[in-house]
Symmetry: C2
Amino acid sequence: MKNSITDRIDRLRDLMKKERIDVYYIPSDDFHGSEFVSDYFKEREYISGFTGSAGTVIVSMDEAVLYTDGRYFLQAEKELEGSGIKLYRDGNKNVPKVNQYLCEILDDGMTLAFDGRCMTTNKVFQMKSYFLRNNKNIIINGSVDLPGIMWEDRPELPDEKGFVLKEEYAGESLKSKILKIREFMYSKSADIFILTSLDDIAWTLNIRGGDVKCSPLVLSYLIVSMDDICFYCGSGKKEDRKLAGIYDYLVDNGICVKGYFDIYEDLKGFEKEVILADLSKVNYKIYSMIERLQINDVYNPTTILKAVKNDTEIKNMRDAHIKDAVAYIKFLYWFKNRSLNQKITELDLCENMLENRSSMDGFISESFEPIVAYGKHGAIVHYSPDENTNAEIENKSFVLIDTGAHYIEGTTDITRTISCGELTEEEKRNYTLVLKGNLALGNAVFMEGATGASLDMLARKPLWDNYMDYNHGTGHGVGYLLNVHEGPNAIRYKVSSVINTPAFKEGMITSNEPGLYLTDKYGIRTENMILCVNKAENEFGKFLGFETLTLVPFETEAIVLNMLNEEERELINSYHERIYTTLHKYFDGNELKFLESITKRI
Amino acid sequence: MKNSITDRIDRLRDLMKKERIDVYYIPSDDFHGSEFVSDYFKEREYISGFTGSAGTVIVSMDEAVLYTDGRYFLQAEKELEGSGIKLYRDGNKNVPKVNQYLCEILDDGMTLAFDGRCMTTNKVFQMKSYFLRNNKNIIINGSVDLPGIMWEDRPELPDEKGFVLKEEYAGESLKSKILKIREFMYSKSADIFILTSLDDIAWTLNIRGGDVKCSPLVLSYLIVSMDDICFYCGSGKKEDRKLAGIYDYLVDNGICVKGYFDIYEDLKGFEKEVILADLSKVNYKIYSMIERLQINDVYNPTTILKAVKNDTEIKNMRDAHIKDAVAYIKFLYWFKNRSLNQKITELDLCENMLENRSSMDGFISESFEPIVAYGKHGAIVHYSPDENTNAEIENKSFVLIDTGAHYIEGTTDITRTISCGELTEEEKRNYTLVLKGNLALGNAVFMEGATGASLDMLARKPLWDNYMDYNHGTGHGVGYLLNVHEGPNAIRYKVSSVINTPAFKEGMITSNEPGLYLTDKYGIRTENMILCVNKAENEFGKFLGFETLTLVPFETEAIVLNMLNEEERELINSYHERIYTTLHKYFDGNELKFLESITKRI
C-alpha cells in the first residue's frame, strides 16, 4: 500500500500541475451528501489509504494532509504509515481548522480545486466566506475530478434493483406527495424544485433500492416543475437492472426517466426560472450551473413532511418492532443460555443477531453497521468489531449492543446493554442511572411547541445530578425504510440552529438513547425508538408524549431497585408486561419461559 | 376625552394630507426601544387615549385602528369608546397581522409614514420585506413626526440627575469596558460603533440616572470610534441638571459630551467608515442616515458582556438581596400579623412593601410596577392594582406578590404567593407543584453548553406531568441596576432564535419563576433570582448550577408535605436555614420570632 499511495499522490500532483491547480481537496461525500457512501465514491480512501468514514485529504505541492476526527485518530495513524500523508487531528488544540489551514497554504491568486459534486453548496459558501473575511483572493475551481481520471480499477456505480414501495406500506401516493411539493413551490413562487438527497427522493416517489449501504435508497436526482417531473437514475433506460422494477410505475405516474448524469445537461436549459433548492444539501456543481438564476434557498419541504409519519407508516412501524423484538428475544435466549465453556466473541453475537433478524419475513437489511462492544470496547462510542478487534465475551461486565434492521414495514434501531455474568455495584448503579434517564424521557409529557433541547434534560438529569454525562445526542429522527438517522427532529441540549431544534409533532419517530462511557472500563447505552403522540388537550393547550415502539425488556439483572422510585418501578413493570402480552404468542417452550422470566415484575 | 381624540385624529389627517401621506403609523416605543417609556414619548396614548403599555395606532383617511394584545383587550375597549378608533385584537383569529393590514389598506404608489426614531431598523425591514413578498410598491417615509407637531402640552423630555456608579459598585472601569468594545470592533474591522440602547450605554460608561421609569438609566446615545467617544445627552452642557453629576467624570475619561439630538447631525459627517450597529436595537432614523455606509449588523457586544456579572457585581447583588429580604420579611411580619377586623387591600400591600424597601440604605426605586394580586386577580398575569381594581384581602386564598427594587448594590425581583388564611386542598396541591418546579430548577446541575430551553423542563415537569402549564417564560436575565428584564440569558422552552437561547455562563443572573394561573380562581408564582455558578469539573467536562440569591422563605402553610420527596424537603429546609443564618442579626423581638417561625424545619 505504501508505495501505491505515494505514487498516487505523485500522479495527482502531476495532474494538478497540468491543470494549474495549487491545492486539491478531496472530501468523503458522495454526490448527495449521504451518510454512507458506496465504493464508487471513495476517492479519499483511494488517494490516502485511510478507510475511516470521515476525513478530508488536502494535497498541495509541498505536503499532503488528512483531517479526521477523534474516532479515527488511531486507525488513521496506522493506515497513513509510510504514505507521506500528515495526520491532522481535527478538534485537537493547535490543529488549525480546515479552512484556516487552506488560508495558510494558499497565497493570493492561487487556485483551489475539488470535485464540486462531492461538496454541498453551503460547505463551499463557508469556505469562500472564510477566505473573504481573511482577505484571501483564492480562485476556486469546483469542476475537476482528478482522482477520477487516475483511478483505473474504480468500482462501478452501484446498480442495485429498485422497487416500488406499495401504498399499503407508504400510506400516501406519489401523486399526493407531489401535490404537496407543488403547493410549497407555489407558496415560494418557484418554478423548479431540485431535490438531490436520496432519502427525500425515495420518500417522494415511493421507491426503494439498495444503492447505499444500510439505507434502501436509489442513487438518483429529481427535478419537479409545475408541469413535469424528471427522475435521473442509472442509464435512464427501462432495461437497466436498477430501473426494471420501477420504470413503468414512474412513467405511469407521468414521470420522465433520464440517465443519472443527464441532470447536469438539463440544468443548462433553464433560463428565467425561479429555483427552489436546499443549499445545505444540493452539491456545488449543481449550484454553479444555476447560480445565474434566482434561487430560493429553503429547507427541503420533503424533509419536514417525511419526518411526520402517516397512520399507515405508524401501524407498520409498530409491526416492524414486533418482528424485531421476536428476533431480538431469540438472540437473547441464545446468548443468555450459552454454555460458559464455549468461546464466544463479539462477531458471534453480530452473526446470531443477523441470523435471527434475517429469518423474519420482510427483512431487507441491517439499518447500520452493528455495534457489539464487550467490556472496555463499550466505552468507544463508535466501536464496531472486526477480525482484529473481535473480543471474547467473558462471564462478567456488560456487552453493549446497538443494532437495527430495515423490514418492509419499517426501520428499527435498538441498544441494549446486557449483563454477561457478574456485575460490580458500580456497573449496576451506572446502568440504573442511564435507565432512569431513558424512562423519564420515554414517559415525558410536554406542551406542543417544546423541542428536543427541553426533552434532553429528562434523559441527562440522573447523570448530571451525579456529575456524569455522555458526549453524544440523546435522540435522532428515524426514517421509514430510508435513513436510520433522519432530521430534523432530534433530542440534544446544544442549540446550534432553530431548524435543527424543531418543535415535536405527533407522528415523529425519534430514538431515546442516553448512555455512559467509562474509558477502559465499559459503556452503557439504552436505546428505544419513541413515537410522538397526543396525550391530552385542555384549557392549557395540547400536551404531547411518546409511545415506545421498541419491545425488548431492559436488563433487570443490572437494576439497583432502591435507586428507583415507585413510579419508575411501575414504568418498567408495565413496559415489560406490554412486551409479554404482545409477544408471547410468537414463542413456546423454553423460549416462552425465557420471555416470562425476563419480563417478570421487579 | 372623546371629543379631544376625534379632534386629534382629524388634525392628524389634515397634516397627512398636507404631507401627502396616505397612512400614518404610531408605535409605542421611545427612540431607544426601551421597555418602559417616559411621558414625552407617549404619542400613541396622546393620539388614541389608550393608556396600555403596548399598542400601535394606524390612521388612514378611511379609518383609525389600534392594535393591542390580550392583556389590554378590556382596557382598550373602554378607553377607545367614542373615539372612532377601531380595536384590532392582535393574536385573535381573523384579525390580520399589522403588516398584512397595512398591505390591505395601502395601494401601489401610496405613502406610509412614521417617526423612524420610534421604530427599530429590523422592524422596518420586516415591514418592507412583507410588502416586497406581496408585490406591494409602497413609499416609506420614516422622518416625520406628525403628532409631535400637533401636541401642544407635550411633556418635557425627562431630565433626571445622572450619577456615576463608582467602581466599588460597577467592578470594572469605563476604560476597561471601552477597551473590550474596541477589541470587538477591531475583530469586526469596524471604525465606528453606534450604541443606542440605554442599558448598554449606562453599563459601558458606569453611569446611572432616572430618565426611565423603574430603570435608573440616562436618556442618551453613544458613538465609539477607535480614537473618540461621543456621548449625546441632554443639552450637552455641564450646567444641565442631567449632566451636572457626570460631566466632569466623562470628560476626564476622554469622552466628548454633546446634546441629545446632535447625534443626527454628526451621523451626516461619516463618509467611508465601517459601522458596527445592532439593527435590532438601532432606530430606523439613525439607520437611514448611515445606510449609504458599510454596516456590520451584530448583536451588541455590550449586551453579552454585561450579562456576565463580575465579582464585584455578584458580591453587591448578594448584599442587595439581603437588604431586600430584610424589608420583605418586615412586610410579611406586618401582613401575617394584621388584625383580621381591619380592612386591607392590594394597594395597602404595595404601600407597605415600598415603605419597608425605601427605608433600606441605598434604595433607589422599584424595579418594575408592583404586581399585588389577590385571589382571582392572581390569574391575570400582568395585573397591577389601581384605584378601580383594588381588591380587599380576605381571610382565605392567595395573594400573589411580584415586586422588586433597585439598590445601589443591585436589583431584585421576587415573587411570593402568600396564604391569606384558609387554603383549599387544591390550592395547596397546586402551590406545591409550582414549588417543586422552582426547587428543581434552582438546584439544577448541567453541563456547560446547556441553554434555558433545557433548564425550562425542570421547572415545568411537575405541572406538565399533571397536564397543566403557565403561559410565560420561566426566567429572564436581570441587569445590575439597569433593566430588570435583560437578555440574552433566558429560561423558556420555545426556541425562536439561537441568539436568544444562549448557553448559560458563570456569572449570569436569571429569574426562576414557574407559576400556575386558574382563571377566575387564583394565581400562583414562586420567583427567585439565581446566579449561575461552577459546580464541578471532571473528565466529563464542566458542570454548572445555580446559587439562589433571593432570601425570602417559601409559604410553608401552602406546602403539601407528602407531595415532596426527601430531597425536596431537605432543599427547602436548607434554604430556610440559610435564610435564618444570614438574616437573624437584622431582627429582634417579635420580628425575630416571626423569622424563626417561617424558617423552621418542615
